[in-house]
Symmetry: C2
Subunit: 470 residues, 2 copies
């Protein structure tokens, strides 16, 4: 029951009714209970059915957040933080109803400290907005999960994406957050110093907590200098194993690739059709190198040697921004290209991540599984991290197809976990992966539960997420 549907939770009708009245009074036009607002705030971007909140409040400041938390806490009503709604595991659903807290108006960039390579933003700032703002400073924020997600949402799901192999995930790029807790108090989890040993790492606790421990009100991020030169290229391999072996060798040699993405033959075919390209329809790596006029060619040459050793015919790269953009267009449009293979069907993305030594094996077994069960599912992966997505295309109205997809996802999750990997490399747990938490983390799940209970004893923050429901 992880692909299409999740159970509703218990509803505190009296509390919800009271909170609706209070918030209407307090927030006026900034509190909405209309059907379309509620639907927009429970759109899960996957096959998971929407579970609507009872109202949507548009917060504009930390004071607003505190006010909403206090009202919800007093009446034991859930609140679900909402950024842009691009999460993929039902994180913005409201299985027990309650209030969606929309952060899109908390989108101020509070400070940019260029000398320290950091900035502080409100949770509703999107990554594109931030990079647009930073452009003149010569700095950029590197994490790119694909969607133009909010920084608050990215922090909350521990997002990563195409260039995590070089720059890390949100865990590595958040220096500190401020958050409003269930008691209505706001805490700051760290300072702007690059490192600290001052007690428990609350920053990393809130990163990836999916809004279940508190509501973020600001995020302090590390920034990077915009590289002097960016090189990009595409390289086809005879089979997936060769491509993965080239990735392993690249990582082991310490070549600081900024992106190294794997597309399987079906994905390349989809991309050719969608983006008007003529790439060989073989397993292909897309690469990007960040550096200087001296170092980018060195990196590219080192990679070419490795690629040839593993059966690539050639490796063409370019530092011309227009050409590079054209080459990478296929990768950037991979999701829509896949959907275009069968526009009438629904799409569901998996998110397994394994140690890179097991990547070739995991991808090959998954491809065989897809073939054996007659599924349509292109594969695209952040190969340098051992993380790959299969985009399953299926008819969500046909229970048999849904069942087939469910069974496939379950096999894939077991396969990844058996290889010392995870069911979720970057999408988070939400509702979709909660059923696998016990298998993956074992008794550590009780430790997580103890922390949740200690910080949010009434379970008002995003209930029904991360932890398996009865």
């Amino acid at each position: 029951m992880t692909v299409s549907n999740v159970k509703a939770g218990p509803r505190n009708e009296a509390g919800i009714s009271a909170v609706l009245g209070i918030l209407k009074q307090a927030f006026g036009e900034r509190f909405q209970t209309g059907q379309s607002f509620r639907e927009q705030h429970a759109h899960t971007a996957t096959g998971l059915k929407s579970q609507l909140p009872d109202g949507v409040v548009f917060v504009e400041s930390a004071e607003d957040v505190k006010a909403v938390v206090k009202v919800c806490a007093e009446h034991r009503v859930p609140l679900v933080p909402f950024g842009t709604g691009s999460s993929l595991e039902g994180q913005v659903n409201a299985p027990s109803g309650g209030i969606s807290v929309d952060f899109t108006r908390m989108n101020r960039i509070l400070a940019v400290n260029a000398e320290d390579l950091d900035c502080t933003v409100e949770p509703g700032v999107t990554r594109e907005q931030l990079n647009e703002y930073l452009r003149d400073t010569g700095l950029f924020f590197p994490i790119d999960p694909g969607a133009n997600a909010s920084i608050g949402g990215m922090a909350s799901t521990r997002a990563s994406g195409t260039n995590a192999v070089r720059y890390g995930t949100m865990k590595d790029n958040v220096l500190a957050v401020t958050a409003v807790l269930a008691n209505g108090e706001e805490i700051r989890t760290g300072r702007r110093a690059r490192k600290s040993s001052a007690g428990y790492d609350l920053t990393r606790l809130f990163v990836g907590a999916e809004g279940t421990l508190g509501a973020l009100t600001s995020i302090t991020l590390k920034l990077q200098g915009i590289p002097e030169l960016i090189g990009g290229g595409v390289c086809a391999f005879p089979d997936v194993k060769s491509a993965c072996d080239a990735v392993i060798m690249t990582i082991q040699m310490g070549i600081p690739v900024a992106r190294i993405e794997l597309l399987d033959d079906i994905q390349v075919r989809a991309c050719n059709a969608y983006s008007g390209l003529t790439l060989p329809e073989k397993p292909t790596l897309f690469l990007e190198f960040h550096g200087t006029a001296d170092t980018v060619p060195l990196q590219a040459d080192q990679f070419r040697d490795i690629a040839m050793e593993f059966g690539a015919e050639d490796f063409v790269w370019t530092s011309d921004p227009v050409e590079r953009a054209k080459l990478w267009k296929a990768r950037h449009n991979a999701y829509w290209a896949s959907r275009a293979l069968a526009p009438q069907l629904d799409g569901f993305s998996t998110d397994a991540c394994v140690p890179i030594s097991r990547l070739a094996e995991c991808v090959a077994e998954t491809q065989a599984d897809i073939l054996e069960h007659g599924l349509l599912a292109p594969i695209v992966g952040h190969a340098g991290d051992g993380n790959f997505h299969t985009l399953l295309l299926y008819d969500g109205k046909d229970p048999k197809e849904v069942e087939k997809v469910e069974a496939f996802v379950e096999r894939l999750v077991h396969r990844a976990i058996a290889m010392d990997g995870t069911c979720t490399g970057e999408h988070g747990v939400g509702q979709g992966k909660a059923a696998y938490m016990d298998e993956e983390v074992g008794p550590a799940l009780d430790t997580m539960r103890a922390i949740k209970t200690a910080l949010d004893p009434q379970n008002i923050f995003n209930p029904g997420k991360i932890f398996p429901q009865d």
Copy 2:
């Protein structure tokens, strides 16, 4: 009261007496209560007075750890994990007595996964032991806090050291741990996949927890490829500000220095005398570059340009291992060189860390403070991280000197915190910095307390550390 002395905590005499009997029975020769064993296990490597445990148990397996935890939990008796005793803030003291759990016999390297650049070790493995073991694999573990500390201790204090600027701190290099909790259960906090979004980041919670949440039983670490070439050099500047400005520029330009260490003029003088060198007695940066025959010279040249811009006369570097070792010898011996300035005196190391834009200012103000108060205190810093140590030399038997040192430390801590920095960049809180936690983390301290209480309700794990005592 942070430099010389800390309060004793309450003692549970009946419980301690019961536990001593049970552990003697269960562990025989592996449980010791003699004075010399107890003294060795409470040596704090600072001015803080020793607070002895009542007994020392030498554990050899996770099963041993579970057994000890169960006995201690049943009788509400503290247990204090002990690695090599090189911590600097009284982390191994036993203010309420109890059992020191010595991990030196849990020193097996359990697995090295060369293809995945990771390994799993028991907590008692030291970093030198690990690197010795890894040598033939072409890999190394980069974190170097100076002392030959245990990996368990390094994880627990969130250690870093000279090359954190390139490779990060323990927070960035621990993939997962196993830990025995207060309930006697062992959990595993993560898997070997490079990234994961599977729930709360318990790995980072145990890294830096100083043994207050549980006892580590294994640590899975990231490894790095040994660089093809290492270059090292030394560069004198006219003043501290120029040296710091060169560091800021180096970091901003994205030059991937592996080490960039600041020594002030007094420290250089001490090093010259101690190591038989003739370095100009000016503020000096020690650098190391990791890369290839192509990239190391590029990095060194880029740095030279920056250094000249900020008033350095020249920058000499070498890739010859013997010459490099000689140059770096001064840095490696800095602590002992400082102590040799006045061998009859005690030494106390501070650990402030500020955003690098504030480093020059913080160091300059601290130097002025040292001068104004007639203190002897060379400065050495991990400049790329904004972290610096002053080694105060004072007579620990003279209450007036102790008071003077205390007052200086307090001013330094306030200064660092006021600059959005921390009182502890890498040494941890222990007992020595507990008094500053409230000032530094504010209401987040209550959140830390709530987590501590949730995971260790009887406060048996390393009590009296991190949290300020009444």
